[in-house]
Symmetry: C2
Subunit: 409 residues, 2 copies
Amino acid sequence: LRSGRVDLGQRSETVHRANLSAIVRGIHEGGPMSRSDLVASTGLTRSAIRGLVHELTDAGFAMESTAVRLGTPGRPSPVVRLDPRSAVVVGLEILVDSIAASVVGLGGVVLREARADRPGRNLEVDAVVGDVAELARDLDFDADGTLIGVGVAVAGVVRRSDGLVSTAPNLGWRDAPLGAKLARALGVSVPVAVANDADLGALAEHRRGAAVGVDDVLYVSGEVGVGGGAIVGGVPLQGAAGYAGEIGHLPVNPTGRPCRCGSTGCWETEVGEGALLALAGRPRDAGRAGVDRVLEDARAGDPTAVAALSQVGRWLGIGLAGLVNVLNPDLVVLGAMHARIHPFVHQSIELELDRRTLAAPRSLVRVVPATLGPNAPMLGAAELAFEPFLSDPAAWFSGRDVSLRVASA
Amino acid sequence: LRSGRVDLGQRSETVHRANLSAIVRGIHEGGPMSRSDLVASTGLTRSAIRGLVHELTDAGFAMESTAVRLGTPGRPSPVVRLDPRSAVVVGLEILVDSIAASVVGLGGVVLREARADRPGRNLEVDAVVGDVAELARDLDFDADGTLIGVGVAVAGVVRRSDGLVSTAPNLGWRDAPLGAKLARALGVSVPVAVANDADLGALAEHRRGAAVGVDDVLYVSGEVGVGGGAIVGGVPLQGAAGYAGEIGHLPVNPTGRPCRCGSTGCWETEVGEGALLALAGRPRDAGRAGVDRVLEDARAGDPTAVAALSQVGRWLGIGLAGLVNVLNPDLVVLGAMHARIHPFVHQSIELELDRRTLAAPRSLVRVVPATLGPNAPMLGAAELAFEPFLSDPAAWFSGRDVSLRVASA
């Protein structure tokens, strides 16, 4: 029976741990909540909430303070916060042009972060792993509370089960065991979870950015390559092995340019960084700085730059029209380079959506720029690393609660 | 708190009804099961299963018989079956060329069915509704047990919440309240659930056809138009309002032919029935019979027919390559016309998938023809109509169980 499985034998302990998880996840995602809010949002009794919150404060993960409730009658309800330093993760990001590292505390608080541009640098897996590990060590990632895990966003196709980068055409990697290599380089024994950068950008924008509260979202992330991440019914779209979302390799132009993936006419050959730069008469490899120049020129009214952006916008609209027909999202979030060029491309996008999207999904969808900026994938990597903790915080309790010790024995 | 909500106040009654649902759904989808199988698959105790099965037999929905267990030691465990005539649904299908109706019993048993070709007939909503209702009445749909609901598969974009057909380009419909009209024409007060034909074909192939047990599936249904339905992580992909899966309107050839949706170069202009017929030198509107002729010619070695099929296969592969990159399915199921032409197009498809799909998702995916034949959408419509019953069979109990009566009061 695939659904409705209810295992009565373990019910009370399972429910207890699920309730702790619900409280921690709710505050981690939504911010501090009063006990009354927790009662309302969980359906648990006031005394059950009191007991669970005490377990969390006893274990050192939460703190309570009295809220000042202006204009609300009655006794103010204590506000429950998470202690960001009680559980931390390392969020890492590996793009073609840059790497980044962060230490993120419970509740999604960025404690420390750093980014290093490395255009033209050695892209060998070991060289990149060494540089990323150094960046993370410079942030003293184990100087805080319990290290829960490490999350890594990488511009490639990742097998979720073991962090193997199957292909990263723009990094030139194939079958690279990135998760294992990073665990060794960092000298950590906690899990290292690796995922595609756009999938994690989508997760971050859904949890803390432009798509908070929206259940059906397509996140498009354009840089050298173009990736995507979708949220479907509130859940990240993974596919059979975590490879879903490779929207940059939709064939949109049968007479188009060769793509680094080996095919021709992929969407990324029309809407990636190289396409914009070439249309604007600049070297394809001029990078982020080159794109900034194109944007400056366009702001100054330069017709070549304006035409290049409008052409990229037209192709953005063509691909998005197809994806909106397939996925029926409420919201399309443009990230990375596509967020930066949004003011210059949104009209062309809307025009193509009007022409090419069926009326019903067209009437529902909005296209907006991402709000978390270039760090979205790294923030998503941190969220990924927090996941085991959020699913079962009690597993990190150090034995104050007898029933939990018994249950895990 | 979005996840992990556990409402303790109603726990025991909620768990009881969920357990009844798990048993009924398990047998409906997987066939008769012994009590021992039910114990193993639900995690419930033997005595809990005994009690729940008795409730189902008392209510008239299940029957028990003693299994003969060859070679198994010990007392044989009674086998629990559902009575197909105790709860029935009407499954309907509305395509451009034909309509169909069925009476389906609990467990997915097709009790009666009929299909009527109506090529060239009046496609006005009311005319089609009248014909479909007549076909259903001819099947004596209310001659059996309790009528649970009506499900309708239609070749159009459907708003799930109320059965409004927003657009059906190939039927020429816009904003047609199909669900409401059918309820009136059939004279029923049970719910009439309407959904896109390809979405329902996907559901049926997933539950009873080529994709049983596969969690990530893309179903492609080619006829006059081309539709799709995806199963993502075991769950049908719906999108924000149930419009997802319109894969026929992926722009694959922006300088291609005009599409009935108003755009140009949509996938269905390259792989739909009209495209195949035109390439084979036949009238675009020669329909299913015309396609049969093309297949006969190809079997006889006619080069025009063979070339036409291989060209359609190439475009099938191009579009599928993009969709596999986006969705990372384990399995692509070709339905309707695409199932019939599969022997002549599968090589071209595989070739384009090799060229255009990223290595990782490519290595996982298989492309197979559907196994349920042309009735798949209608069978899916019946499954849709059973859904409220499967989710809470106790709501149909007629008061034998006091606790249920109290709970629903």
